[in-house]
């Protein structure tokens, strides 16, 4: 069990808190997709990106989403993060239906409870690495000194604390990607959504990032990772397979140590 300090003040429903995973307690749902469909275009150009998808991610659960290009992986993540609206169905983040929120409330939810790693990073070039990571906290009223401290801790977790004062255009693609990951994990977000977060990283650094996401899940966050790399999906508790916008299969870790053993060599 990972010990994480609880807030002593009453908590707003959208307030981010990473909870310790409690053995024997019923699972707490961080993210729920109920019969979610997403259609782009209309008439003869209509494209169904997602079709009646049901998906639940509990606190402390690490879920990987796999599927071929165009299967709806990134659409699923964008909808879950409130970056796009569903055509049908409902998405709940910590029990709050996203469709019931105003644009401002959605933005606040994203800032406070959801960490999002974009495929193309979405960093602000006029800010340095620390400022990019601390900005969402500061926008949310966290005092600058505390926000910067948390940002530096997040940069340390992704292994680039020595680049904290560099501007974005002074960083390599892989370093920028790690800044984007630090921004997603800063402030103990309840839900972390990562869209191919290791594309620009070498395999060893990619594994380190998986370890960071795993630790966030073990500390109580819900983590959803979109990936085409099986070795990264191997870090997840559950792997969801998408095809043509539908969930076609799921693989859950067996947690059976004997499954690792070969038959005795004769």
């Amino acid at each position: 069990m990972t010990g994480v300090a609880r807030h002593s003040i009453p908590q707003h429903p959208l307030e981010p808190t990473v909870r310790p995973v409690t053995q024997g307690m019923p699972p707490r749902q961080i993210l729920e997709l109920h019969q979610v469909s997403k259609v782009y275009g209309d008439g003869i150009t209509v494209v169904a990106a997602l079709r009646e998808v049901d998906l639940t991610v509990n606190a402390g659960e690490f879920v990987a989403v796999m599927g071929p290009s165009g299967s709806g992986k990134s659409s699923l993540l964008a909808l879950a993060g409130g970056l796009d609206s569903t055509s049908q169905g409902e998405i709940y983040v910590r029990g709050t239906p996203l469709s019931a929120l105003s644009t401002a409330e959605r933005a606040r939810l994203r800032r406070r409870a959801v960490g999002y790693v974009f495929q193309d990073y979405n960093l602000i070039p006029t800010l340095n690495a620390t400022e990019n990571v601390s900005l969402p906290l500061e926008l949310d009223g966290v005092k600058p000194a505390k926000a910067q401290r948390q940002a530096k801790d997040a940069l340390r977790q992704v292994g680039i604390e020595d680049l904290a004062n560099r501007f974005i255009d002074e960083l390599s693609g892989g370093q920028q990607q790690r800044v984007a990951i630090a921004r997603a994990i800063v402030g103990d977000k309840a839900l972390i959504l990562a869209d191919e977060p290791t594309g620009a990283l070498d395999s060893v650094t990619g594994e380190e990032i998986m370890a960071v996401l795993r630790r966030r899940a073990d500390a109580g966050a819900g983590v959803v990772l979109v990936t085409h790399e099986a070795r990264h999906a191997g870090w997840a508790d559950r792997v969801v397979f998408l095809r043509d916008g539908r969930v076609v299969d799921q693989a859950t870790a067996q947690n059976d140590p004997h499954s690792l053993l070969a038959d005795p060599i004769r």
């Binding site: 071929p68 370890a211 795993r214 790399e229 099986a230 070795r231 999906a233 191997g234 870090w235 997840a236 508790d237 792997v239 397979f241 076609v248 299969d249 799921q250 693989a251 859950t252 870790a253 067996q254 947690n255 059976d256 140590p257 499954s259 690792l260 053993l261 070969a262 038959d263 005795p264 060599i265 004769r266």
Partner: protein, 218 residues
């Protein structure tokens, strides 16, 4: 054969008895391939017969002690110097199953592939979990165990990539109406991506045979 040479390599570090050798083999290979103690003694008998080790008698505690000979040392050095020749890996069975599936009318090949992909990913999750729970690389045996687990991860990863490749090839072939009647489209994906050289002739041969008999039936 790897057990014979592994035991020889362990004996280069000093005389040992059977149970000791088994324990050391398993520790250094991350306990992934449990050794049957009967197999250890049979192997030791053969090594002694071939002059690669010698029986040094009882150690006073009921253990029969074996030591490596000069010929044994030479054999071990040669083993490390030569590349390993892969034996038939378990995925041959999978390659054969897929080859038969794509040439058998009425089989949902995508479902066959997905069932395998899920199973392999579950195994990958288990191995990854085992890797996470290892205590790092502080001892040589920990590093050895970690490397064995990594080998399982790479193997599972390769199998999943191969399945993705097969699925894309099958879908392309299906779209162009080539399945299941046209042999070329059927046997092409598996051999092209097979990680093991040994599997190729078996797989291709099997699929060709079934395809031609299928065409005859039609």
């Amino acid at each position: 054969m790897s057990v014979k040479h592994s035991l020889l390599a362990l004996l280069t570090q000093g005389p040992r008895y059977g149970y000791h050798l088994r324990a050391e083999f398993e520790e250094r290979t991350g306990s992934t391939w449990p050794l049957n103690i009967g197999q250890v003694y049979t192997t030791l008998d053969r090594l002694e017969r071939d002059g690669l080790i010698e029986d040094q008698g009882d150690d006073g505690a009921g253990h029969r002690i074996y030591a490596i000979t000069e010929a044994g040392r030479a054999e071990t050095e040669d083993w490390f110097a030569q590349p390993s020749r892969p034996s038939n890996p378990p995925r041959n069975e999978l390659a054969i199953k897929l080859a038969i599936a794509v040439t058998t009318p009425g089989v949902d090949v995508e479902r066959v592939i997905q069932a395998q992909r899920s199973a392999t990913l579950r195994a990958l999750q288990d191995v990854t979990r085992a890797k996470r729970s290892t205590g790092g690389e502080s001892r040589p045996a920990d590093l050895a165990g970690l490397l064995v687990l990594e080998s399982l991860i790479f193997t599972a990863e390769a199998e999943i990539r191969w399945l993705d490749h097969c699925e894309a090839a099958v879908l392309r072939a299906a779209r162009s109406g080539q399945l299941p009647a046209v042999p070329a489209a059927v046997s092409a994906p598996a051999p092209a991506a097979m990680p093991s050289r040994t599997a190729v002739p078996t797989t291709a041969g099997t699929s060709r045979r079934h395809t031609s008999s299928q065409q005859k039936d039609r």
